[in-house]
Amino acid sequence: MEIDPFIFRLSIFILSIFLGYYVVWSVTPSLHTPLMSVTNAISSVIIVGAIIAALANNIGNIFNSSSIYGFLAITLSAINIFGGFLVTQRMLAMYKKKKK
């Protein structure tokens, strides 16, 4: 009997939760704010779904009812991706060591 691909994705999901658990515990508390802004940026990889939604059946009207949600989602996630990564970079650039 063949295994449903869903089970594979579920395995990836569960293992990633554990991975996330250990990786995040190793994040130094002084970087918790950049952690939040970078997780914001990477969770906007949801833009992948938005692009698929936007470009679906673009024969005829490009802004049909399902595509328009895709286009809106593209803009929202792009704000997050650019805003998230850039503000993280801006913050991380400020963390400096003591001048010896």
């Binding site: 999901f13 990633s16 002084s30 970087l31 969770s43 833009i47 936007a54 929202l76 650019f82 990564f85």
Partner: protein, 464 residues
């Protein structure tokens, strides 16, 4: 591009996202980590374009909408002051939530585009996944909007509590589960819209009873939700990068909420149910007897600091409000020239989000190896001459260690009172967020400095 090849590339971008978080284990590796994250994102987006392989007019529109978002995002990232980071993060969470809702709607309306079947005949598993994605996304969106408004000060930070609140929330939550069940059997779009509507309402109701100082927990929790919403959509789209990221972000937010709750010695449910503001009545009663305290001016403070050999600075939310971090750094520079040892003590829940104080100090060019966490520095207070408490209150209250009756009993606090002398910058004697009096005000060795944090620090500089 074949489906297998693009799946491999999504896996690579998932791994790069893991490395992005891994980099944050120390400030030296963090910038490289952020770079990995950016590469991962570029791979994911490019692969998506290639796998669709349809470079018609639609692509131009996609790029236009992408550029609009990119422009807005970049503008915000460069303009935002560091003191506004909590608002910014809350705002970003709301966008992730709304994007998840939009993608779920699109998948529901046009399932064929995602290989999920025909409208009205969507695969059962996909339907459950997209319902979860949409519901959690909607909760994240409206919850983050409320958190944003509270942090901005547009909405009062005090908890809004009404009778039957928890009952209503429970009822709505149950109705979501029932709706999902019916949605799976009849696949009516009306049910889907109602599901999203109720989820928006839950997010709103969930956050309004939570007070301002509990925002670190709320922001972390919403961070976690945005991850679970992304994961739900990831399952719908059968996309590994999204599943991995969702799991990472979900567990990251959950861990941060746990750390924040522990920093307040409160259970997660205690924070979420929002009972803390209710203790205000008892504090009015406590305040009736006025205990004696000492207050001083900038001159007294400067004298004490000048003659110290070591100083620990304890910043709190008040420092952020007064924007006092730069003045503080100036003061410290003068002290360092006089060979006074300086360190900073940060309580886990100082400020309005995890790590809030660290970012502000970093902005003011304070080297991160002078900044310490509670466990690292708490034993040093006993050997320190002066503690300079600027904008912090409840996190220094010794009552948490001595009075089992106190609502904050058991909360880990900074042992500020063990210093030879304590300088406490505060605008008045009013109790802090927890609504209880701070015993530290009335200690022999405490000198109260009644002023705005920034103004007082500047005045001390003049007297040094």
């Amino acid at each position: 591009m074949s489906a297998n090849l693009s799946a491999l590339f999504y896996l690579i971008s998932g791994v790069l996202f893991i490395l992005a978080l891994r980099g944050l284990s120390s400030p030296e590796t963090s910038r490289q980590g952020n770079f990995f994250g950016i590469i991962g994102m570029i791979i994911a987006i490019v692969v998506t374009f290639l796998s669709i392989g349809n470079f018609s007019i639609g692509l131009i529109y996609v790029l236009v909408f992408l550029s609009i978002g990119a422009f807005i995002g970049a503008l915000i990232a460069y303009k935002i002051p560091m003191t506004a980071m909590p608002e910014l993060v809350a705002g970003f969470h709301s966008l992730v939530g709304l994007a998840a809702v939009f993608v779920a709607i699109s998948a529901f309306v046009n399932p064929a585009a995602f290989n999920l079947g025909e409208p009205g005949k969507i695969k059962l598993a996909s339907l459950i996944e997209m319902s979860i994605g949409a519901a959690v996304g909607a909760i994240t969106f409206s919850g983050s909007i409320i958190a944003f408004l509270k942090l901005q000060g547009v909405m009062s930070g005090s908890p809004i509590i009404f009778k039957g609140q928890h009952f209503l929330n429970a009822l709505l939550l149950i109705s979501i589960i029932i709706l999902t069940y019916f949605l799976c059997s009849v696949q009516s779009s009306n049910l889907f819209w109602i599901l999203i509507g109720i989820s928006f309402l839950i997010g709103f109701l969930l956050i309004i009873p939570i007070g301002g100082a509990d925002m670190p927990v709320v922001i972390s929790m919403l961070n976690s939700y945005s991850g679970w919403a992304a994961a739900g959509i990831g399952f719908t789209l059968e996309n590994t990068a999204l599943v991995i990221t969702g799991a990472l972000v979900g567990s990251s937010g959950a861990i941060l909420s746990y750390i924040m709750c522990k920093g307040m010695n409160r259970s997660f449910f205690n924070v979420i149910l929002g009972g803390f503001g209710a203790t205000e009545q008892s504090s009015i009663y406590q305040n009736k007897e006025q205990k004696p305290f000492k207050s001083g001016n900038a001159e007294d403070a400067a004298f004490l600091i000048k003659n110290a050999s070591s100083v620990i600075i304890v910043p709190g939310y008040g420092m952020a409000v007064a924007q006092a971090q730069h003045a503080l750094r100036e003061m410290v520079d003068i002290l360092k020239k006089n060979d006074i040892k300086i360190s900073y003590a940060i309580h886990p829940v100082a400020g309005r989000m995890p790590g809030h104080m660290n970012v502000l100090l970093a902005e003011a060019n304070v080297p991160y190896d002078e900044v310490f966490e509670l466990e690292q520095i708490n034993n040093d207070f006993a050997n320190t001459d002066v503690a300079y408490v600027i904008g912090a209150n409840d996190v220094t209250n010794p009552v948490a260690k001595t009075d089992p009756q106190s609502p904050i009993y058991g909360m880990p606090v900074l042992d500020v009172e063990k210093c030879k002398s304590v300088l406490f910058v505060k605008r008045s004697l009013a109790p802090g967020y927890a609504g209880i009096d701070n015993d530290l005000f009335y200690k022999e060795n405490t000198l109260m400095l009644f002023a705005d944090a920034k103004k007082m620090t500047e005045d001390i500089i003049k007297n040094l």
